[in-house]
Amino acid sequence: MSVSTCPSSPVSSRDVQACEPRELDAVDRAIVLATQAGLPLVPDPWGAVGREVGLSGEAVLERMQAMQARGVIRRVAAVPNHYRLGYVANGMTVWNVDDAHVARLGREVAALEGVSHCYRRPRHLPHWPYNLFAMLHGRSHDEVERQASVLRECLGEACRDHRILYSSRILKKTGLRLAGSRPGAASDIERRG
């Protein structure tokens, strides 16, 4: 009953590989679970995480560094809530782009202002013809519209059609929940506009 994938956009083995889980053993997984909602704000956060998962602080730190080196962790950061800081308009723009040009254009679009994520995804015809996704963030819908028109120009004739879907409400937003969620961990319902 799922919507079938468009036969004109076959998924190559390389693509599938990019989405396969890998590189996490049981210890890594325990550390991910213990840290994905945030680090304890104490002088020795690694030691505090270690006590939770049964490792030394040094071992946790080494694992964190190793996961970062492998790209499993993109960065350890103070993650701002952009919505609270005035980026209140968030538009998921979806584009129907010629498959022959989508890889090159995706990279170009990703560099434009306001774009946080940019992905190629499969089409599902006839319901869903869009194969390029770019998340836009602005301080108003007008700003997002302006960003989208810059994207439209960048894509040129290779783009047949596009849409902007605005989020009207956040119904759930948590950090990555790897292997089942921890009860009570941040699951918030927030009204938006």
Binding site: A18, G38, L41, R74, G86, M92, G106, R163, Y166, S187
Partner: protein, 171 residues
């Protein structure tokens, strides 16, 4: 307008708060006593950095201080969407939120409304077979087809932005 939730009152954030956000949204040092290292760079003490981070978290300006994982490497995940009747949206959203592995769920509106996909969520699982099983199970519960949109290629994932402090103060 600056006093209304859910905006933060940026006037409450002093120069040190702003430097913490500006400097460390792209990455904290991953070393022994990381907040001590941050404090040294900013010319303050570790306890001050920790207190600031705690406050920024409680204000909701920071959603967390911690690792940002690459979903594609830390398990399996995909973007999914369903088209539900607008009047029953909340009931469907609850079913989705209760499903194991769902970590984001947004109501989205398309002014044109042609396709009607109005609930968008990210489904995660430890591996691909489990991901498919979770989606199949949720699909059966919803009684509606789930649009499955795995990432085929990622061009750019950067959740950091220059924070327009001066502009925010004027609004």
């Amino acid at each position: 307008m600056h006093c209304q939730a859910p905006y933060c009152q940026v006037q409450e954030l002093d120069i040190l708060d702003r430097r913490l956000i500006d400097s460390y949204q792209r990455g904290l040092p991953v070393c022994t006593r990381p907040f001590h290292t941050v404090a040294e760079r900013l010319g303050t003490c570790e306890a001050e950095v920790i207190a600031r981070l705690e406050r920024l978290q409680s204000l909701g300006v920071l959603s967390r201080v911690g690792p940002v994982f690459d979903h594609a490497r830390a398990g399996a995940s995909l973007l999914a969407a369903v088209a539900v009747p607008e009047a029953e949206r909340d009931a469907f959203a609850e079913l989705i939120n209760a499903a194991p592995g769902v970590n984001h769920n947004y109501a989205r509106e398309d002014p044109a409304r042609e396709h009607g996909f109005n609930l968008w969520f990210v489904m995660t699982a430890p591996d691909e077979p489990e991901l498919e099983a979770r989606l199949d199970d949720l699909e059966a519960r919803l009684g509606l087809p789930i649009l499955r949109l795995p990432m085929l290629e990622g061009f750019h994932i950067d959740l950091s932005f220059p924070i327009p402090w001066a502009e925010l103060e004027r609004t």
